[in-house]
């Protein structure tokens, strides 16, 4: 019997019991859809985390001024300025593992341009800050060393600030006032979107560190101590973050003349670790989903085997008749195998459509990129066919091995 004729018989048999066939397919449908959604969402999540690592600056360590217990009352981390600009330069200079270290000062306030104003966070930074954070400019230029040294009245703003102050106009060349200090905008940062903690990373204004200290913050104590809020450090590629952290800690303790046993007066934070933990957890999620999907596929396969066994029993007389009119055992085997594979393939294709739809819907909902891959779809379809063959084989063989006489006599 030709393959086409066999396929036609299979489709007919499935159509006769369409409700039963549909229910049997459900397991495969759910399994395949789960596989596709899992891979699409998992890949999307992973590439989002990877993007975040890249945007944060890979190998980034941040040193914060710690809460100081000097006066007895603990203040919040970063409230007291225990680390200095010089600490930053020393780390860059003396710790071999460090590629660059950028001391920063942070403040917040109104930024005014013409009659528009916007409340934002501003940072005083050094020229290497952009490199450390892997930030680039969408427009204009960065600071030069002369501007750094001279506390030049220049600023670089994020896209959120730009949009709120200047709308669609180009901010480069315009003047903004921060705490009444007029600063000329010389550049706009590339849009970066939300940070891991949900902060708008584009709501920011950068100025030279000296400008921030001497002109904008202007606090006397600060100006004298040359202290900074944080030092952003980029570690060289291929260096163990733990070792780099340890060297930096040693250097700072030494510079701050801390006795052994005395608490650090600074905090070291390694953001990559947090991100890696996130990536790890997204991998665990993907694995869990894969487990659920494969269990569903397995259950679906058993369902197919179950229904095929019922079908073989129901159609014993038909099998006997087919043998009598000339079907070989192999024809019967093929007929039931094709039926099982058709069942699982239709289920698989439905699952693929459902999976793609589901992945797109989830993508819209979670607002992260969903990566549908043709590989995943092929994998799911192939898996569905395999399940049909695997779980269809036993019932089909049972049908093929029936003795024609007994099958014809079966009541």
């Amino acid at each position: 019997m030709s393959f086409l004729a066999t396929l036609r018989i299979a489709l007919k048999a499935l159509r006769v019991n369409s409700l039963r066939s549909g229910l049997t397919m459900l397991g495969i449908i759910i399994g395949v859809a789960a596989v596709i959604v899992m891979i699409a969402v998992g890949r999307g999540a992973q590439s989002k985390v990877e993007d975040q690592i890249r945007s944060l600056g890979s190998n980034l360590i941040i040193v914060f001024s710690a809460s100081s217990t000097f006066t007895g009352a603990r203040s919040a981390a970063g409230a007291a300025y225990t680390i200095s600009e010089e600490d930053g330069y020393a780390i860059g200079r003396e710790v071999e593992e460090v590629y660059a270290a950028a001391p920063t000062l942070r403040g917040s306030g109104q930024v005014v341009a013409g009659n528009a104003n916007w409340s934002t966070t501003f940072y005083g930074v050094t020229t290497n800050y952009f490199e450390v954070r892997n930030w680039s400019l969408a427009e204009g230029r960065g600071f030069d060393q002369a501007e750094m040294n001279g506390a030049a009245k220049v600023a670089i703003i994020g896209t959120t600030v730009a949009a709120n102050l200047f709308g669609s106009e180009s901010p480069v060349g315009q003047v903004v006032r921060v705490r009444s200090v007029p600063l000329t905008v010389i550049g706009v940062l590339q849009k970066k979107g939300q940070s891991l903690s949900g902060n708008d990373q584009d709501d920011v204004l950068l100025m030279p560190l000296s400008t921030a200290r001497n002109r904008v913050l202007g606090a006397t104590a600060l100006a004298k101590s040359r202290s900074v809020g944080a030092i952003h450090i980029k570690v060289r590629d291929g260096v163990d973050m733990k070792i780099a952290e340890e060297r930096i800690r040693e250097l700072l303790r030494q510079r701050h003349r801390l006795q052994p046993g005395q608490e650090d007066d600074f905090n070291l934070r390694n953001l990559t670790e947090i991100l890696q933990a996130r990536e790890e957890s997204s991998k665990v999620m993907a694995l869990l989903l894969a487990a659920v999907a494969s269990v569903s596929l397995l259950v679906g396969g058993i369902g197919i085997m179950n229904i095929m066994l019922v079908s073989v029993t129901e159609r014993t007389r038909e099998i006997g008749l087919r043998r009598a009119v000339g079907a070989r055992a192999a024809d019967i085997l093929r007929q039931f195998l094709v039926e099982a594979v058709t069942l699982s393939l239709i289920g698989g294709l439905t699952g693929i459509l459902l999976g793609i739809g589901g992945a797109l819907a989830i993508g819209r909902w979670v607002e992260w990129p969903i990566e549908l891959s043709s590989g995943a779809i092929l994998l799911a379809a192939g898996f569905a066919a395999l399940i049909g063959i695997f779980f269809g084989y036993y019932p089909a063989r049972k049908a093929a091995r029936l003795s024609p006489i007994e099958a014809l006599r079966y009541e």
Binding site: M1, A5, K12, A324, V325, G326, A327, A329, D331, S403
Partner: protein
């Protein structure tokens, strides 16, 4: 003289039921010539069904020889037997054994699909056979939409579709009323007149009377083998109609 269509020599079959061996057929030697119409009779357990299964190439004998059309069928493989059933044999069963939810046409064409006949050709031949059994109008009907007699005629058309040398009919009238049964016998006699050899199993003497040779089985052996002056089924059928009128 032409060689016989069927020749059996000490044909035997035994079944194993656990440790005991149950002999179903204890050496049957006979010849059936082309064009014969044979009725096989005997009580249940007499071995007539086993004999039919062997003639139908549905089973392997445990002893003896079976030559069908000069071929030593008893030594054929399963697949070769399947091909032989497909080409040379037609089966008619007591309970018709039509595929449900399948049109009469597709039922009749079924053996051709296993004989690798192209679909269009198969349909053409099936249509012709259905017309031959008087069901040209019912080609698209499914078994559930047909009467018992019509279903049996579809089954006969199916048995004929491969132009077999031999038709094996196992109690073909058993599930039908007398009138319809005689109608089926009219058809079988007509086919026999065209040269098709028919072996019919029945336990009804009235039905066996339409054959021209009667073979009786008992305890796995042939106990009777006699010529019979066949009754004309179509005459009986017309007579029935007159009584009804």
């Amino acid at each position: 003289m032409a060689p016989p269509l069927i020749r059996t020599q000490d044909l035997a079959k035994e079944y194993r039921m656990g440790s005991t061996v149950v002999p179903a057929l204890r050496g049957v030697t006979l010849e059936i010539a082309r064009g014969e119409f044979i009725a096989v009779m005997g009580p249940s357990g007499s071995g007539k069904s086993t004999f039919m299964n062997l003639l139908g190439c549905l089973d392997h004998p445990s002893g003896g020889e079976y030559l069908l059309d000069g071929q030593a069928v008893s030594r054929f493989s399963d697949d070769a037997l399947a091909a032989l059933r497909n080409r040379s044999l037609g089966f008619v069963f007591q309970n018709f054994n039509l595929l449900p939810r399948t049109t009469a046409l597709d039922n009749v064409a079924l053996p051709l699909l296993y004989g690798h006949v192209a679909t269009a050709e198969a349909r053409l031949r099936a249509t012709r056979r259905l017309a031959q059994v008087g069901l040209a109008e019912r080609m698209d009907h499914q078994p559930a939409q047909l009467s018992g007699g019509q279903q049996q005629r579809v089954a006969i058309a199916r048995a004929l579709v491969n132009d077999p040398a031999l038709i094996l009919a196992d109690e073909p009238t058993g599930a039908l009323d007398t009138r319809t049964g005689i109608e089926i016998m009219v058809l079988l006699q007509a086919l026999n007149r065209e040269g098709i050899t028919i072996v019919l199993v029945t336990h009804e003497h009235d039905i066996a009377a339409y054959a021209d040779r009667i073979i009786g089985f008992r305890d796995g052996r042939v106990v009777e083998d006699r010529r019979n002056e066949r009754r004309d089924a179509s005459a009986d059928f017309s007579a029935l109609d007159k009584v009804a009128a």
